[in-house]
């Protein structure tokens, strides 16, 4: 079982909050002992998902946990919004799929940049995306 050694929560409402999400992710990635490339990957993934929360979810929040599991450390981020949700998750994970103004790389890109990826979404009930990167 993974235990949480530090936990942070941040509201995501505006594009300034995307910068804040990147900064806190960097701080916690350092605390989790992630190497430079892993830090860069999870910060980039966090940036994509935070922007998704604003662009498609109408705002929401992120929960960040520094984890420890049998001597192994990692960082888990959980993005949650109460937006319209995603009807076809398969399609949303494909590169180039977008219903907005982006390039459609966010969700699939964030998945590729993470060691763990989970998405729960229902039309009308919002979206929850969880990613983790382990040392």
């Amino acid at each position: 079982m993974a235990t949480t050694t530090r936990s942070e929560r941040l509201d995501i409402r505006s594009s300034d909050d995307v910068v804040r999400v990147r900064q806190i992710t960097r701080t916690l990635a350092l605390e989790a002992g992630l190497g430079l490339v892993d830090q860069t990957k999870i910060i980039t993934a966090a940036s994509e998902l935070a922007r998704n929360v604003i662009d498609y979810g109408g705002g929401g929040q992120v929960l960040l946990d520094v984890l420890e599991n049998a001597g192994r450390r990692g960082l888990r981020l959980c993005f949650e919004d109460k937006g319209p949700g995603i009807a076809d998750i398969e399609a949303a994970l494909k590169d180039g799929f977008t219903t907005g103004k982006g390039m459609g790389l966010g969700l699939g890109g964030a998945k590729r940049l993470s060691n763990e990826f989970a998405i729960v979404s229902k039309p009308g009930a919002g979206t929850k995306v969880t990613i983790a990167r382990w040392k």
């Binding site: 594009s15 990147r22 960097r26 490339v37 860069t40 990957k41 922007r51 790389l105």
Partner: protein, 130 residues
């Protein structure tokens, strides 16, 4: 609102991005650069991103847009100084920046722009202060 400074350097414009850019700052830079290419008759644009710890799809698209617009305005864009970890992450993200020229550092980027100026026999090449 904050603005990213644009310096004129011979026939080229030099932009050094030193802050973690929020989206409005990126959009403002795109607009400012486009205006400055015309007002300074610039033939090249160098964007130094060596201070950037990440490039996500938003910043990637900004770089692509700047390159595309400056090409239409007859200026070359070269992105320089990308950190290795950023390059690895960009490729995995799925962003190849295919429309953007890159160089390892400012010096090489400037050489790329100068080469193009020499090849096209630009009159502006004479007042190069190297």
């Amino acid at each position: 609102m904050d603005r990213i400074p644009i310096l004129k350097f011979g026939d080229a414009l030099l932009v050094t991005i030193q802050v973690d850019m929020h989206d409005r700052l990126a959009t403002a830079l795109e607009e400012d650069l486009t205006g400055k290419i015309v007002s300074a008759s610039a033939k090249g644009v160098l964007i130094d991103i060596s201070a950037l710890e990440i490039v996500d799809s938003f910043i990637g698209r900004m770089l692509d847009n700047i390159a595309a617009v400056s090409r239409i305005l007859d200026a070359d864009t070269v992105v320089v100084g990308m950190r290795p970890a950023v390059a690895i992450t960009l490729v995995e993200l799925g962003l190849s920046l295919s429309g953007v020229k890159t160089a390892l550092n400012v010096e090489r980027g400037m050489a790329m722009i100068q080469q193009r100026l020499d090849a096209s026999g630009s009159k502006h090449g004479d007042d190069d202060e190297e």
